[in-house]
Symmetry: C2
Subunit: 280 residues, 2 copies
């Protein structure tokens, strides 16, 4: 796969990493960074992540074979729709948002039938943000979920899969709603819980934390506005995941109250079994 012009909309940690990876792997001849913030684009240029900077997102997308929207999830659908309006049917549009159902539903219901959008979500990231933390190897060995619906254009789907594979990622196809239900448990709930654990820690106990607390709460360093948008795009699945967690916490509470060591041990052993299976 060789792309003449690739546009990255939103050159932060993820967008910057897509740009760097595409350049390092020779996937794109020219990488355009597009976005509203001139200063961020200037940093991306300085770091060599992009070849050109555009504050006119649509103008950048219209001259590209592929455009990847790496903006916050609550902005993606509108930006895709705005750019799609003037696009050639050969331009493939995709994104890197952590939620999929609302984005894909909105885009598919409002976009002209001859335009091609395919939802994507690379399962890679960091609690850090900004193009200065971008990493050309961020997607290597990771999994990117590519969404498929009855409206998905088969050729565009293949192009998008090839693109993420070209960045070093594996890919798998999922329905957007199924994606959001799964990610509620694997990503959104852990983030919520990490934030809650950090948030209830009184200041006088800061010095009594060690690596265990730091690991368990690390993701809570993520940008609150990014995560507010993610949570608010997936409330039903996240509430269901939270309820599932609260039932498990209840089991711990009962075992602790009853001093039921066998029950505590069984709960901890079950959790360890799952965690061990994921590797370090």
């Amino acid at each position: 796969m060789r792309i003449k012009t690739l546009t990255i909309v939103g050159v932060g940690l993820i967008g910057g990493s897509v740009a760097l990876a595409a350049k390092r792997r020779g996937l794109a001849k020219c990488v355009i960074g597009a976005g509203r913030h001139q200063e961020r684009l200037a940093r991306a240029l300085t770091l060599g992540a992009i070849d050109k900077a555009y504050t006119d997102v649509n103008a950048a997308v219209h001259q590209s074979e592929l455009a990847v929207f790496c903006t916050p999830v609550d902005q993606i659908a509108e930006q895709v729709l705005a750019a799609a309006a003037g696009c050639s049917p050969t331009t493939v549009l995709t994104d890197a948002g952590s939620t999929k159902a609302q984005i894909v539903r909105k885009v598919e219901s409002q976009m002209a039938g001859d335009k091609a959008f395919v939802g994507s979500h690379p399962l890679a990231g960091s609690e850090k943000s900004g193009v200065e933390h971008a990493d050309a190897s961020l997607f290597e060995g990771r999994l990117t979920i590519v969404t498929q619906t009855p409206r998905t254009n088969a050729r565009a789907l293949e192009r998008v899969k090839e693109f993420w594979q070209g960045l070093g990622s594996r890919t798998c196809l999922m329905d957007p709603e199924e994606h959001d239900r799964a990610l509620a448990l694997t990503s959104h709930l852990p983030h919520l819980v990490a934030s809650a654990l950090a948030g209830i820690l009184p200041r006088e106990l800061h010095k009594l934390t060690a690596t265990g607390f730091q690991d368990t709460t690390r993701v809570a360093m993520g940008d609150p506005s990014i995560w507010t948008a993610i949570f608010s795009q997936n409330p039903a699945a996240l509430l269901e995941a939270l309820q599932r967690l609260e039932r498990r916490l209840d089991e711990f509470r009962v075992a602790l109250s009853d001093a039921d060591l066998a029950a505590l041990d069984a709960l901890l052993a079950q959790g360890k079994g799952v965690r061990d299976a994921l590797g370090s």
Copy 2:
């Protein structure tokens, strides 16, 4: 500080690290490893963590200036009391247990007044276990809590502080009950929650986890029997910490149900503020 004979009771990850650090830093002339499991002691000898191995714990302790009990928290008090019975008053006994109130209370209420026990808890560890994962630098730059009660022997307290400092750790004094209330929030609750998050993950979603899930649940890889003992030595404080977390989860639930983005953002920003203050 130079110890002629140092005994480590329980040569696993923590005991092995104490032994290795004491040897590397020239803190002890002879390090004895003591415990019931001959095979574990043989591994510690092979790895050079200890100079001698004793399966008779009391015999080892009785010839030592300092003995550190690194066994599971539900075994420490009885082992200390058994060893203290035949000890010289110049032998200082301490431990490395993750709970302190029950251990210190039991030892102080049953030990002869001329014997010296001081509770300790180095805030360092790993989800791994076994002497093969011991690390001579485990305590460097970490904090060790040393407990002080009205019955604590001042000379022994100084020796124990100096010992942990000799291993590269900072030290701070705390009341045992205060320690347990603090660690419920900084260590025991995060462990419980990590285990719960891992435990509710269905098998078909394993492949959809990434670094965020792995960080948040890493401590759940710890040995269940070790953590069952810790939880069951600190149920009241852990239940109170759990209740505090559940109130915070409730705030998230309400904000999600109400689609209250400002409330979500405020909760996430507060959690981030605390977590950022702890460093990476």
